[in-house]
Assembly symmetry: C2
Homo-oligomer: 354 residues x 2
């Protein structure tokens, strides 16, 4: 393509349909542009999303989470390498739950991904999540949808295990990997408390370090003690936006044995254990399909996505409703003790009808 025709193509991207067509054809810049639209909550997303829809549902979505310092970036990079070696196209979404304390630093160490930077079949993008919409719920599924439609066979969603983010990543992923590392005692304690609820596979990284065997045994014990498989508690983990996505349309409806989390030892820096991890992911994916759980998870993900978009719509409606003075006057009355916040909210909502 000549420089002139490249420019012509780029200019055409002002049109969402052209932009989407380019992304579907695998143009990485078009993919990047679409994800920027997602981050900006662009009005063009409606049209884009409709155009993408028929092309979605093919990517395997692998979530990867863990406390800071367990080696998420290195493990992600290792998995990218393994999938590339198998000829698959790989997308990576690195989610950074921003905070005044952490800024963008938690996932700032993208340097290890440099080895894949020149590979046209690897697409890496960091998404910062901010504000009241909470965690990953808004932008990440939309970005995932873009990568899925653009033909990435595997999408790795990586997030730090802090706050709500790792619950969200589990809600989004087909297979969720939780990373642990030796010498992080808190992590092991936490494993007993709650990690079992989101982990499909537990990865003990830095397996070449002192204490790794001890960590491994601790985790194996914790898995045995937890006993109950993830699916049995999924409904508590994936609380919907007030509108539960767990309808009756559950598809195949289980039948196979329950899944008990695998525990895999890896040294992501050297690559040791990565083939075993990839194999464990494959086993899980096979089980997901055979048991009907994959469909159930995806239905739930779609329901959650719809609910989030609907809620954002309601929120916007609430914003438009306020002329800038009405809420201020209600706030004054509440501050002065003349009105309680519930009555004030009712007054504010009176205009939203229903």
């Amino acid at each position: 393509m000549s420089a002139g025709s490249v420019r012509a193509a780029r200019a055409a991207w002002a049109d969402p349909a052209e932009l989407t067509a380019a992304a579907l054809a695998g143009d990485r810049r078009a993919v990047a542009r679409l994800i920027s639209l997602v981050e900006d909550s662009s009005a063009a997303l409606r049209e884009v999303s409709a155009l993408l829809a028929p092309h979605t549902g093919r990517a395997r979505v692998i979530g990867l989470t863990g406390a800071p310092g367990v080696g998420k970036s290195t493990s992600t990079s290792g998995l990218v390498g393994a999938y590339r070696a198998a000829g698959l196209r790989v997308g990576v979404l690195a989610i950074d739950p921003s905070s005044p304390f952490t800024g963008g630093a938690l996932l700032g160490d993208r340097v290890r991904m440099v080895e894949h930077a020149s590979d046209p079949d690897v697409f890496v993008r960091s998404l910062a999540t901010r504000g009241n919409l909470g965690g990953l719920s808004w932008a990440t599924p939309q970005a995932l949808r873009v990568l899925d439609a653009a033909g990435f066979d595997v999408v790795l969603v990586e997030t730090v295990g802090v706050g709500q983010a790792e619950v969200d990543v589990a809600a989004l992923a087909d297979t969720t990997l939780v990373l642990l590392a030796p010498g992080m005692g808190d992590g092991i304690q936490a494993a007993k408390a709650g990690i079992m609820e989101i982990a499909d596979i537990l990865v003990v990284n830095k397996a070449d370090r002192p204490g790794a065997d001890h960590t491994y045994r601790d985790v194996v014990t914790a898995v045995r003690m937890a006993g109950r498989p993830r699916e049995s508690i999924a409904d508590t983990t994936f609380a919907g936006a007030g509108a539960g996505a767990d309808g009756g349309a559950t598809g195949a409806g289980g039948g196979l044995e329950d899944w008990h989390p695998d525990v895999i030892r890896v040294a992501a820096v050297s690559g040791e254990g990565l083939p075993e991890l990839v194999a464990a992911i494959e086993r899980h994916q096979t089980w997901l399909r055979a048991s009907g759980v994959l469909r159930r998870r995806r239905l739930r993900r779609a329901g959650e996505e719809i609910s989030q978009i609907a809620l954002a719509g309601l929120r916007a409606r609430l914003g438009r409703l306020d002329d800038g003075q009405r809420l201020a006057e209600l706030a004054r009355q509440v501050t002065d003790g003349q009105l309680d916040p519930y009555t004030a909210a009712d007054t504010l909502l009176a205009g939203v009808a229903g």
Copy 2:
């Protein structure tokens, strides 16, 4: 009061009006019961909130946040002791942003508060925040309202500095303390990045430890470099629920000099520096009142509170709208690529009117 009349009073608490009257009269069990209603999002809250409203607005609200391990519990306990020595009644809300990784462990170390457990003028309560409503935004202001109306002169709101929580606590508090400790290099880096936006007072705890001087100097330098006072950036910190609470009703409208964060050295375990911290808080409170910023913050807090309740109402409406099958069918269509999530959300919302 005889055992019989106590039982009679408790039975009467089934009536929200009786319960509220008991809380307003300072009955700690009634206060605890009201906060449980808040945690459960009880329908009785509307009536309770209306009864509480005329009695609110008196408590000084002090937020306290910082990374895990900086000594928040100890500092809170120290402040409680200092205020009790001054004859004030003190409420403590310990907010635990729950997470599969942390469980309730982050603020689990309440043991240090034991020294105040038998003091009838100290009320301590942990609030776990869960789910999509995000951070503290929902329950905490309501619980604060209960303690305020029940006559606690000072309410300390303590939360771990992770994710959205510490931004929320700053939005809620009149005075926000950010705790740091020596030997937590990340904390200092982060200080430069974002802590300045929420801190009214920076507390270097564990001032008796090695490296405390270095940390102190780092923080002082960071404060100087940050330059801009908190109020000038408040609008970016306190993003409303789509409906900005910053109307025109700003009251006194500033006028005094800007506030630049104090940096105070404390060793909370031994009590060293606590009088200086209390004095710094008093200076800030005096400035808040004189500058008109206190009123501005409280108007903003009320606006945020109203918006959150209104939003929860919309969310509930969305939930009721779904008959359990409609969202499931939309989720099926989205999963199968027949529909995009935006169109699905529109369909879901069509019934909410507006």
